[in-house]
Amino acid sequence: MGHDAHAEPEKKPGKLGLLGKAYLPAIAQGLLHTLGHIVKWDHNTLNYPDEKRAPFPGYRGEHRLTRDEQGREKCVACFMCSTVCPAHCIEIVAEEAPWPDREKRPKIFNIDMMRCIYCGMCEWACPCEAIELTEVFNIPVRTRAEKIYDKERLLSN
């Protein structure tokens, strides 16, 4: 664009009259435009706690660790999610699983929700469908520490 402008200097839209140079017509135009918005009286805001919008399909909210039919976490502590996570907010410590059908499970599984960017890559990376993003987005807390969710918290989400 800049290159073209150099090539054809005549085409610059700079030929304004005196009035135009004082910006006044443009300002008036802008003022009319904004006034139009006031007059239109069309407000897009939802009165949030009273009215709620249904989340869009595929909305990415807080995480949940899923459970299998026996109520155990599905996660096998493979670290795929923490490896793929662009925000490096998943901390896993693995341990041997006490169950015969599984070798490994997470001893510690923490997600720093304050650092998470809710990109959903962890959900994509998981080979066991053990982690998923829910539609929950509105859990306020008083300290940052409370926003580091541990395994129990994630399982109960």
Binding site: C78, M80, T83, E95, R102, E103, P127
Partner: protein
């Protein structure tokens, strides 16, 4: 391997005429010319088995593809590594390898450094055509440190050949036949030889797993530091793998002059002391902790200054865990104060030599020869005796003790003497008789936290490195060795001694380990012409030092 002498063979690799020494296998010769061929069962340190068939290439010698790991080169040989036939053959092998292989990668500790994974990606088919039920093989303990996931085994027999050829113990064998064959031990005879850990490293897949490392971290998260093992005077080349400042495992590093591809289990699993809660982690005066390490180093400098010029009776007791650089600094302190320097050694163990030429030294410390080369051949011999009698007779004004022993007990004659003489300054890893009565206790650095050089029992100079200092600033484990090292380039003894020298006025400023080594190379004939940067990854033999334990004064 080359029995045909020095003759060169002309052959053709992928259309390019090349020359290689006669007697080489295609795989090795191709590798020398930059063409890596896949291989499972081939290992440079083991005999050739030729059973996995992933190394197939097309040659002009036979209509069938040849296994490059056992086929030797000869004049006029033409090899195609990526012809349609070769690629198809390898793809076929890969498909067979994966027929019964479980989809275990998410929980398999080998994932990330697994050759089966890599080759499947590079050479394997996109999808499996195998719809039948996969067979199940055993998952069990093979020994105190090793577990096998039979399903993952591709029966390359590397582990078996290792136990036959290198450790000479022969615990492992293949049991059952066909697609049920799997590695096992004989009933009642677990694999527990001192080199057992190596089978885990050489297993190309995740079948053999070290219980020490199992589930501890994913390998791609580990940071690698190339250093040497501090377990014995052999100085095996190792890679220390750390994760977030914690040692996760030690892996041997290839060095055909020292340890080939192996290391012993004593060294491999002997890193835990670095993360021991009982380690001395903060400097202290008597029992009271010193606020900052700088303050402690100033204290040390004050004590050294008081004794500077030879007006006082000073004794220094060194340990064989000091690097050459640290020993050099000790030498400078000794020269300035007129101190008598003696050393103490940890109790020695059994010397073991294995059929595969691998040797474990009986001397359970890494740098006796280095300290001797810097401070004199008699440091651990007659000098030690002199220091001992000096301490026993009393009247010593300042004693500086270095006790970087990885365990708290060091039953040496000198230990009791030092204990008796009320050491004034003690650098130590763990508290012992020498530090309990000390005026100033300073934390030692472990081998994993040192930066410098060691000299092994053959007189080979090798680099010790600490990229990620284990336990550094690990809030998760308070009481761990942390505050004592100020920069990743230097170690606590190195810093403390230099700060003391600066305090005295003998040095202008603290240097990195490489800088101290430069001073050492300038002043010591053994180290002449060496520099940190000049030391190759596999070390360099030191001039003027006799190899392998002949004729040192201290040994008597």
């Amino acid at each position: 391997m080359s029995d045909s002498g020095a003759g060169m063979v002309s052959w053709v690799l992928n259309g390019d005429p090349v020359e290689s020494p006669a007697g080489m296998t295609i795989l090795e010769a191709a590798k020398a010319h930059g063409a890596e061929l896949p291989h499972f069962c081939y290992h440079p340190g083991l005999s050739i088995a030729g059973n996995c068939r992933i190394c197939l290439v097309e040659t002009n010698r036979s209509p069938k593809p040849a296994i490059s790991c056992s086929e030797r080169i000869s004049d006029g040989l033409e090899v195609q590594t990526h012809s349609e036939k070769a690629v198809e053959a390898r793809e076929g092998v890969m498909e067979f390898q994966l027929i019964n292989h479980p989809l275990d990668c998410p929980v398999c500790d080998k994932a990330g450094e697994c050759t089966l994974q890599d080759y499947s990606f590079d050479h394997g088919p996109d999808e499996s055509r195998f719809v039948e039920k996969k067979n199940i093989r055993h998952t069990k303990d093979l020994g105190p440190t090793i577990k096998i996931w039979g399903n993952r085994c591709i029966v390359c027999t590397r582990c078996i050949r290792f136990c036959d050829e290198i450790s000479g113990t022969g615990e492992l064998c293949v049991v059952a036949r066909g697609d049920r064959s799997v590695v096992d031990v004989f009933p009642g005879i677990p694999i527990d030889n001192p080199l057992a850990g190596n089978v885990v490293d050489i297993c190309p897949v995740g079948a053999l797993i070290s219980k020490d490392f199992m589930f501890q971290s994913r390998v791609w998260n580990n940071e690698h530091t190339e250093t040497v093992c501090g377990g014995c005077a052999r100085g095996c080349n190792v890679t220390v793998e750390t994760n977030e400042g914690f040692v996760k495992r030690l892996m041997p590093r290839e060095n055909t002059d020292v340890n080939d591809w192996w290391m012993c289990d004593f060294g491999r699993y002997g890193w835990r002391y670095a993360h021991d809660d009982r380690r001395v982690s903060v400097p202290r005066r008597g029992a009271e902790a010193v606020e900052t390490e700088l303050e402690a180093h100033r204290d040390l400098g004050e004590l050294v200054r008081g004794a500077w010029g030879g007006s006082k009776k000073v004794a220094i007791v060194v340990d064989p865990f000091l690097t050459c650089e640290e020993a050099h600094l000790v030498g400078r302190v000794a020269a300035g104060t007129g101190a008598t320097v003696g050393g103490w050694l940890p109790p020695s163990g059994d010397e073991l030599t294995f059929p595969g030429k691998f040797k474990i030294s009986g001397e359970k410390c890494p740098n006796r020869r280095g300290v001797e080369a810097v401070l004199g051949q008699e440091v651990f011999g007659s000098q030690a005796k002199a220091v001992e009698s000096m301490l026993n007779s009393g009247g010593v004004d300042l004693v500086i003790v270095f006790a970087g022993f990885p365990n708290a007990d060091c039953p040496d004659a000198l230990a009791s003497a030092v204990g008796k003489a009320t050491a004034r300054v003690a650098f130590t890893l763990f508290d012992g008789a020498w530090s309990e009565a000390a005026d100033l206790v300073l934390p030692s650095a472990s081998v994993f936290e040192k930066e410098g050089t060691y000299v092994n029992e053959d007189g080979r100079l090798q680099r010790v490195r600490s990229k990620d200092r284990p336990g550094d600033a690990q809030l998760a484990q308070p009481g761990l060795h942390s505050a004592s090292i100020s920069s990743p380039w230097v170690t606590s003894e190195l810093v403390a001694l230099q700060r003391a020298l600066v305090h005295v006025g003998d040095a202008e400023r603290s240097l990195s380990a490489a800088g101290v080594f430069r001073q050492l190379a300038d002043s010591n004939e053994h180290f002449k012409g060496q520099s940190h940067r000049g030391i190759p990854a596999t070390g360099v033999p030191l001039g003027g030092l006799a190899p392998a334990g002949v004729g040192e004064g201290s040994e008597s």
